[in-house]
């Protein structure tokens, strides 16, 4: 048992950091929307799914037979995937807000009504993609798994102990970190970022400063959606397939990560994502990888028993980011 653990701890750590980075990117969208609207945007998992399909369509179109080698073409393809998925997911998130949430908000509906609308939008989007959009995009049945061509080679770059660190691992982690730094700077340094923080801390006072809540909400969905889009592009590059309900479990895990880190807190989302990725991979060494989901949610419950506000224990109201 101990020998198993020692053999696998380093490879599991690498795997945990990779999937944790993706959880963290998706978690940002949950946490930002919660910070501004106090709403759990359950359809955010579908925004991520749309990101994976945007990259899938792009890759199928531009790289049908290209060999996976490292070079300018690969980097260009990767960046293009991230941009296209960010646009698709960001746009979808703004549309979702306009159709599913804004009308309720304008009529003064309760938070519970908005939550039901979110769950409805989640199922609606999954089924819409399974029944219509995926068959139209891929010419295959909408509930089948769709695979993406490989464009990033699985070259081993270096070893940490017995763990091989591959090019794709490094790409996911670096891309996620860079995108998160950009978001953090946007929220802490720009005018629109100040508007987002003010709205999260006191929406009425924000209006009295001349902040348009409608604009801030739209920008928040756009930014959170774009993060999920980048996550979708990276996920597709790493896992190389996707399906209409790919967002379901991953979305709940990302939401878990957001709560684990302290919902409403951007840096908490990052921390929560990484911690969750590591813990489920480490736990899988003992119990087998079929237990990953059980481990993830057990950890959530335990953490919340002792720290109900999450690890960082502060929210966007108080956090500088």
């Amino acid at each position: 048992m101990l020998q198993d653990f020692l053999n696998q701890i380093l490879p599991s750590t690498v795997g945990g950091l990779v999937i944790g980075s993706i959880y963290a990117l998706v978690a940002l969208g949950y946490t930002m929307v919660y910070g501004v609207l106090r709403l759990i945007n359950f359809a955010h998992s579908e925004i991520f799914m749309i990101g994976t399909f945007a990259s899938l369509v792009l890759l199928t179109a531009i790289a049908p037979a290209a060999p996976a080698t490292f070079g300018i073409a690969m980097i260009g393809t990767l960046l293009l995937c991230m941009v296209v998925s960010a646009i698709a997911s960001g746009g979808a998130a703004v549309l979702l807000e306009t159709v599913a949430y804004r009308p309720l908000r304008k009529r003064g509906a309760t938070k519970l009504a908005a939550l039901i609308s979110a769950i409805g939008a989640s199922i609606f989007l999954q089924e819409l993609f399974a029944l219509e959009i995926i068959p139209w995009l891929t010419d295959k049945p909408g509930r089948n798994q769709a695979s993406a061509p490989r464009f990033v080679p699985r070259d081993e770059l270096f070893h940490i102990g017995n763990a091989a660190v591959r090019l794709d691992h490094v790409i996911v982690i670096i891309a996620a970190v860079l995108v998160m730094i950009a978001l953090d700077q946007t929220v802490s340094k720009t005018r629109i970022g100040r508007g987002i923080r003010a709205t999260a801390q006191d929406p009425e006072a924000a209006v009295l400063m001349g902040v348009s809540i409608d604009n801030i909400v739209r920008v928040t969905f756009l930014l959170g959606g774009a993060m999920a889009g980048v996550a979708g592009a990276l996920y597709l590059m790493e896992i190389e397939n996707t399906v209409f309900n790919v967002g379901f479990v991953l979305g709940i895990k990302a939401f878990t990560a957001a709560v684990l880190g302290g919902i409403g807190n951007l840096r908490g989302a990052l921390l929560g994502g990484i911690v969750l990725g590591l813990i489920e991979n480490w736990g899988a060494i003992f119990l087998g990888s079929q237990w990953k989901d059980v481990i993830a949610f057990t950890v959530l419950v335990i953490v919340l028993m002792f720290r109900p506000t999450g690890i960082l224990g502060e929210s966007l109201q108080r956090a500088r980011a």
């Binding site: 005018r191 100040r194 508007g195 923080r197 003010a198 801390q201 006191d202 009425e204 006072a205 924000a206 209006v207 009295l208 400063m209 001349g210 902040v211 348009s212 809540i213 966007l316 109201q317 108080r318 956090a319 500088r320």
Partner: protein
């Protein structure tokens, strides 16, 4: 006339909070709204600044009907407010809070910032402290300073003396006077009727969503029924 409220009705759900309130504020005046809890003072201010929708009636600002203008645009037109409970952004520093007041402005802010710090030297000493860690009086200073940073023509102050020690109350009232003498019109809501009436050119007495009396501040100070109800009766 700078601000004119014409027969406004405001509802929370089915409950009428304002039942036909009318009032006027001329340029350069200090006007107070006094009255008991639940009389509708705060709701009146929130309706003027656009945080609450009207059921009926009209609000004119500089002669323009702003009844349907969203709140964030009324700020740009020149209506600033220090809200009930102060509404300080707890996770922002004093300086960031003040700069939020200039959110819609693109001109140079140094002079206005200096002016606010001049009015409230206490804030200048603590400019990099977080708003949420400040005392009640300091938060009130932030709220007023922040409203001034919007460069308002009229500033709405909602219970600026609430929860403050007597010495601090006197200080806040003298600052309100100073702000007014520098050219900003003031609409003041106060439970502290004595102090408010002394300071005011005119005042309105509100009771359960209606204006029951309006007169120059000094007259109301000597009005027996007002003394009885709001000034402790002697």
């Amino acid at each position: 006339m700078l601000l004119e409220v014409k027969d406004i009705n405001v509802h929370y759900g089915k409950i009428a909070a304002l039942k036909g309130i009318s009032l006027e504020v001329n340029e350069g005046e200090i006007v107070s709204l006094i009255g008991a809890n639940g009389a509708g003072k705060t709701t009146t201010l929130k309706t003027i600044s656009g945080l609450r929708p009207l059921t009926s009636g009209k609000i004119l600002f500089n002669g323009e009907d702003i009844s349907k203008t969203p709140g964030h645009k009324r700020v740009i037109m020149g209506i600033g407010q220090a809200p009930e409970g102060r509404g300080v952004f707890p996770g922002m520093t004093v300086q960031e809070n003040l700069l939020m007041g200039a959110y819609t402005r693109k001109d140079d802010l140094t002079k206005d910032l200096d002016e606010v710090y001049g009015l409230f030297p206490r804030l200048a000493e603590r400019r990099s402290q977080f708003g949420g860690t400040m005392s009640g009086g300091e938060q009130q200073m932030i709220a007023i300073g922040r409203a001034l940073m919007t460069k308002p023509k009229v500033v709405l102050l909602d219970e600026p003396s609430m929860g403050l020690a007597p010495m601090l109350i006197a200080q806040i009232f003298s600052i309100i006077k100073e702000i007014n003498s520098r050219g900003t019109t003031v609409l003041l809501v106060e439970q502290n009727a004595q102090q408010a009436l002394k300071l005011s050119d005119r005042a309105y007495v509100l009771e359960t969503g209606r204006v029951v009396k309006s007169a120059p501040g000094k007259d109301l100070l000597n009005d027996p029924s007002v003394r009885e109800a709001y000034l402790g009766g002697h």
